[in-house]
């Protein structure tokens, strides 16, 4: 499965060495990179909040809602990232990934199961023979405060254990103190270490931890920085801090991704994570994707939700649509 997947998507996940001639020189030095990132247009915070709020008012009903629910389920990275994770818990989450709604086999599977690196072999085994991918956080998640050698070893271990996707955290300390080239080089190094022994590479998701970046301008700069460094996905947050994915900070990232494709022709995925719990939230994000980026991103290959509780709410709504009755937490699995 993994090999087939890698072969199928190799042209998509392998990025050309230089992103675009126009942007080749902006990463030449720390000063050039800073000049470029600070030269990005500032974010109009009030306008952004208003735009995100307006997109949250779209009314999605009946068949469109059914489609959105199934799409959202198929975009979930079913996540368990706790110190108390046991192989049993990971296996039960994988079982949920195989058949999210045991009472209705037409429910789609989520895109991936996201675990800590040491749980990758467990998840790999539990998901064998399914289309569900294994994603692993790495680089001393969630703080990212470890020497670069440790972070890279973390990545290599996860990839060797069979992770299809790597979720790395950026060095927020370096980013906030303006050492952008350090962040850039770290992402590049992690990217090189995502390569698999047998060819191909794990897709790389780069987590910014928007809640710690303080401003929307910083979120935009981090987005460009990660995309220049070759991220396959940019991801809002770890889910471990007070402020996680919000519609406005995700919208900034969606706009950055759109602008990046316009500038370089290169498409990058987006993954909001943390704090997305209800079907309504999920549909709001899908509306944002559709109206900011369009159809090209409305697939699990280009958009993901990092969540766990969200799946149950989506399944309950799905049951409501099929039966006409409101469902309850007794009719979905506990995780």
């Amino acid at each position: 499965m993994t090999v087939g997947y890698a072969r199928r998507y190799a042209p998509l996940v392998t990025m050309p060495p230089s992103v675009a001639p126009a942007l080749a020189d902006v990463t030449a030095s720390d000063a050039a990179l800073r000049r470029f990132l600070h030269g990005l247009p500032g974010v109009d915070a009030v306008g952004l909040d208003a735009r995100a709020a307006a997109l949250g008012t779209r009314s999605i009903k009946t068949t469109a809602k059914a489609y959105a629910i199934d799409l959202a389920i198929s975009m979930i990275d079913l996540t368990t990232l706790e110190g108390a994770d046991t192989p049993g818990k990971v296996r039960s989450l994988c079982a949920k990934g195989r058949a999210p709604d045991p009472s209705d086999r037409t429910a789609p599977s989520p895109a991936a199961v996201c675990v800590y690196p040491d749980m990758v072999p467990v998840a790999r085994e539990a998901l064998a023979g399914t289309g569900v991918l294994v994603a692993s956080v790495a680089t001393a998640f969630p703080a990212g405060r470890a020497p670069i050698e440790v972070k890279l070893a973390d990545v290599r271990a996860a990839v060797a254990a069979g992770a299809d996707e790597i979720d790395m955290v950026i060095d927020r300390g370096a980013f906030l103190s303006g050492r952008y080239l350090k962040v850039f080089e770290e992402i590049t190094a992690v990217r090189e270490n995502c390569a698999r022994a047998g060819g191909g590479a794990a897709r790389l998701k780069v987590i910014f931890e928007n809640g710690e970046l303080a401003t929307y301008d910083n979120v935009r700069r981090a987005s460009w920085l990660a995309m220049l460094a070759g991220a396959d996905f940019i991801k809002t947050s770890t889910g471990k801090v007070a402020v996680n994915a919000t519609p406005p900070n995700t919208l900034v990232m969606l706009e950055a991704v759109r602008d990046f494709r316009d500038a370089t022709g290169h498409q990058v995925g987006v993954k909001p994570a943390g704090g997305i719990r209800t079907t309504k939230d999920a549909i709001t994000y899908l509306v944002m994707v559709n109206e900011t980026l369009g159809d090209d991103w409305l697939s699990p290959h280009w958009f993901r939700f990092g969540a766990s509780g969200l799946l149950n709410d989506l399944l309950m709504q799905r049951q409501k649509l099929s039966s006409g009755r409101y469902s309850g937490p007794d009719y979905v699995t506990v995780d």
Binding site: Q319, R325, Y326, G328, P329, D330, Y331
Partner: protein, 298 residues
């Protein structure tokens, strides 16, 4: 001068999860007194309000059912204290809603407060009549205890806007259930004012949720809701067709259903039936250690 005052007209709202939201649907309807004079606008709840109320009630259930019976009794007694303090307001609302004289309305309010106190006292006593030790032919203590069934949807009775309401709500919550109450459509104001009393007493948010609107419209989604454990169909006393329909919908997840008594007189002694209707019985077998095969004497 005082006659020139502009009326301060009140906007009634729903009571869901300890908050006072407007109906999700944005609808309101005119509430009139018994002679057809306009009294106020009440929110006309939609099925989504009902859904939200069930979510709030479910969320409140572990805390409320886990509270000690003594504590629940104290909280309910506190509600009676607050009702007593707003006696005049309730008397005026009941008089307008039911077309009663001031004195008769006051008597209804007094009876409602007394009923509330009476039920509050049952909180730590209901286990004595609904549970106990069972004689079994084996070396076990066999004990049955009543437990609340969960979220109860209460379609409040028509015609008795406060006493009838209190008589159906208090027995549900005193044993640890949480309630979603659909107020009498024709006279919802005492119920919406009761919500204000509940909000300012110590009842945790979500234990009682009050919706105003049509029992027929809200009854259907509540009766079919998979996360509701029981329904009280008091509002359907005069509509057996609706009662049957709701009962059929409720059968899907084996809800407990309390069918309405024919034309109940709410001032009569209520008995324990309404409390016992929304309880489950948990029975535990505990080895005594005596009478064992070893033949020990203790």
């Amino acid at each position: 001068m005082s006659t020139d005052r502009v009326n301060v007209l009140k906007t009634y709202k729903l009571y869901v999860g300890g908050k006072f939201p407007r109906s999700e649907s944005g609808r309101v309807y005119e509430v009139t007194d018994s002679k057809g004079n306009w009294l106020a606008n009440a929110p006309r709840s939609s099925r989504k309000d009902a859904r939200d109320a069930v979510v709030a009630a479910r969320k409140a259930f572990p805390g409320w059912s886990g509270a000690t019976a003594y504590n629940r009794g104290q909280v309910l007694y506190r509600v009676a204290e607050m009702l007593e303090g707003r006696r005049e307001q309730f008397a005026a609302e009941v008089a307008a809603a039911e077309g009663l004289s001031r004195a008769k309305a006051a008597a209804q309010v007094d009876a409602a407060i007394d009923r509330w106190v009476w039920y509050a006292g049952w909180s730590d006593k209901v286990a004595q009549i609904a549970g106990g030790a069972n004689p079994v032919a084996g070396p076990y203590f066999n004990l049955s205890t009543p437990e609340p069934t969960g979220v109860v949807a209460v379609l409040a009775p028509a015609g008795s806007s406060l006493l009838g309401l209190v008589s159906v709500v208090a027995p549900v919550i005193v044993t640890g259930n949480t309630a979603v109450v659909v107020a009498d459509e024709a006279a919802p104001l005492p119920a919406l004012s009761l919500a204000e009393v509940l909000a300012t007493s110590d009842v945790p948010g979500g234990v009682v949720n009050v919706l105003a609107g049509s029992a027929a419209e809200l009854g259907a989604p509540l009766a079919a809701h998979q996360d509701v454990n029981a329904v009280d169909l008091a509002a359907t006393a005069s509509d057996t067709g609706l009662a049957t329909e709701l009962e059929v919908a409720a059968a899907d997840n084996l809800k407990r259903v309390l069918r309405p008594a024919p034309a109940g007189d709410w001032t009569a002694d209520p008995g324990t039936g309404r409390m016992l209707a929304f309880l489950e019985t948990k029975t535990v077998w505990h080895p005594t250690g005596g009478l064992g095969a070893a033949g020990s004497s203790y």
